[in-house]
């Protein structure tokens, strides 16, 4: 028996796309940031990144679980038993962790965008999603606090740190709106109240927030992405992501039927 039985097909398909996007975003950033374990610039940041990554993977699992309840599929199978090009994460999390400033800038841009998205979904008409989001938001607060603290620390530091941060911000800022890339079936999602606010409007809210912080810190101002680049955002993946996909699916591929 699958959940969401009362949903009309367009809304149901839109909900599946939304849950997959949420889950894939969290899974991919979680795995990239988990790579800092053991090699972060400070011991306390080693602990922080590991904790943040564990949170993200937990959130991913919970979103895959909701998707599994809709489709009747096992969440692990949804996450791991598909080719790399079937992932639907936003381009901003597609990049590897690169250097510390890049990871911090990416976390700030992604986690603030995620916060805007989750704020809207907190009043989703799909109750299981609204309930999960209420819990996830309480945990994500610490993510934004951490990223914001480090963003200001790097921006207020010496020329070397600011240089790394400026480069990262310039590389990533156009990817931010891709978190709000239009979803297949979005019209039905908005009409049904599953997505209470359209992605376009959420993107506008986030751009205003990022713009204000960039001005405050004297960083390069963001330029909103074109609609076309937002549309492709969740479909184009890099060679770096292909490498990550090989890594994160390797254990399961050894024995897909194994139980733990």
């Amino acid at each position: 028996m699958t959940a969401g039985g009362g949903l009309p097909t367009p809304a149901r398909e839109g909900l599946e796309a939304l849950l997959l996007a949420l889950a894939d975003d969290e899974l991919v950033i979680g795995y990239w940031d988990s790579e800092w374990t053991g090699i972060a610039p400070m011991l306390e940041e080693d602990v922080a990144m590991t904790s943040l990554a564990t949170d993200e993977l937990g959130h991913a699992r919970a979103f895959y679980t909701l998707l599994g309840e809709l489709t009747g599929r096992d969440p692990d199978a949804i996450a791991y038993d598909r080719p790399a090009d079937a992932f639907r994460h936003a381009r901003i999390v597609d990049h590897p962790r690169t250097d510390w400033a890049f990871s911090i800038a990416r976390r700030w841009l992604y986690d603030t965008a995620d916060a805007v998205r989750l704020e809207a979904l907190a009043s989703s008409s799909y109750l299981p999603l609204a309930e999960l989001v209420a819990k996830v938001r309480r945990e994500e607060r610490y993510h934004v606090m951490h990223a914001d603290s480090w963003l200001r620390r790097l921006a207020g530091s010496d020329a070397v740190a600011r240089g790394h941060l400026e480069r990262a911000w310039t590389m990533l800022i156009d990817d931010g709106p891709g978190v709000f890339a239009p979803l297949p079936g979005e019209a039905a999602l908005v009409e049904s109240g599953i997505l209470p606010v359209a992605m376009d409007e959420l993107a506008g809210r986030w751009i205003a927030q990022a713009d204000a912080v960039a001005a405050d810190l004297g960083l390069t101002r963001p330029r909103p992405s074109t609609t076309a680049s937002r549309a492709r955002s969740r479909l184009d993946h890099s060679a770096d992501f292909e490498w990550l996909w090989t890594e994160i699916t390797s254990v399961r591929k050894l024995d897909p039927a194994a139980t733990w």
Partner: protein, 170 residues
């Protein structure tokens, strides 16, 4: 000679008492009931159902807690259903007063009470005085809001010079 009386079926109070005997997997001085993880217990002739709230969505101990509940309630009814739900978010406000004492006994600082209860509040205040669970001093500092588990921060006492962990307000 009389036949032995039929065994009495455990009632709801009995189930809650049994659950109160299950310690947190990492902190033996607090039960999952005092941690506020058990939301509801439902009993019929055929089944006992327990609804648990995840402390943190990504907590690796959740399955350990589920297995412990299933084991403890095995045989109470023909069917034992234990499930996690998000019907309401687990928050640190759910930890009971007895639980808070148990945390201190286990060497952990309990979470600051009265933390931001609305998810919409974007920040959690970090500059709050926390009492050292070892010596009772309030001259403590926060070394890392993140710790070795999702639910705990790393702190240090300037008086007894012991590091300790404190619960993150969530």
């Amino acid at each position: 000679m009389q036949a032995a009386p039929a065994p009495t079926l455990m009632d709801s109070a009995g189930v809650w008492a049994a659950l109160g005997e299950i310690p947190d997997p990492e902190i033996p001085t607090i039960s999952i009931v005092d941690l506020g993880v058990v939301r509801a217990v439902d009993l019929s002739d055929e089944a006992v159902s327990v609804e648990l709230l995840p402390t943190f969505v990504g907590c690796p101990a959740l399955e350990v807690i589920r297995a412990a509940v299933e084991d403890r309630l095995a045989g109470v009814r023909p069917r034992v259903d234990v499930a996690f739900s998000f019907a309401e978010p687990w928050t640190t406000e759910r930890i009971t007063d007895r639980g808070r004492l148990g945390l201190i006994a286990g060497g952990f600082a309990p979470p600051t009470p009265g933390g931001p209860s609305r998810a919409s509040s974007p920040i959690v205040p970090l500059d709050v005085a926390v009492t050292c669970p070892t010596c009772g001093s309030r001259r403590t500092r926060l070394d890392n809001v993140f710790g070795p588990t999702l639910c705990r921060s790393i702190r240090y006492c300037l008086d007894c010079r012991q590091p300790f962990e404190g619960f993150k307000v969530v």
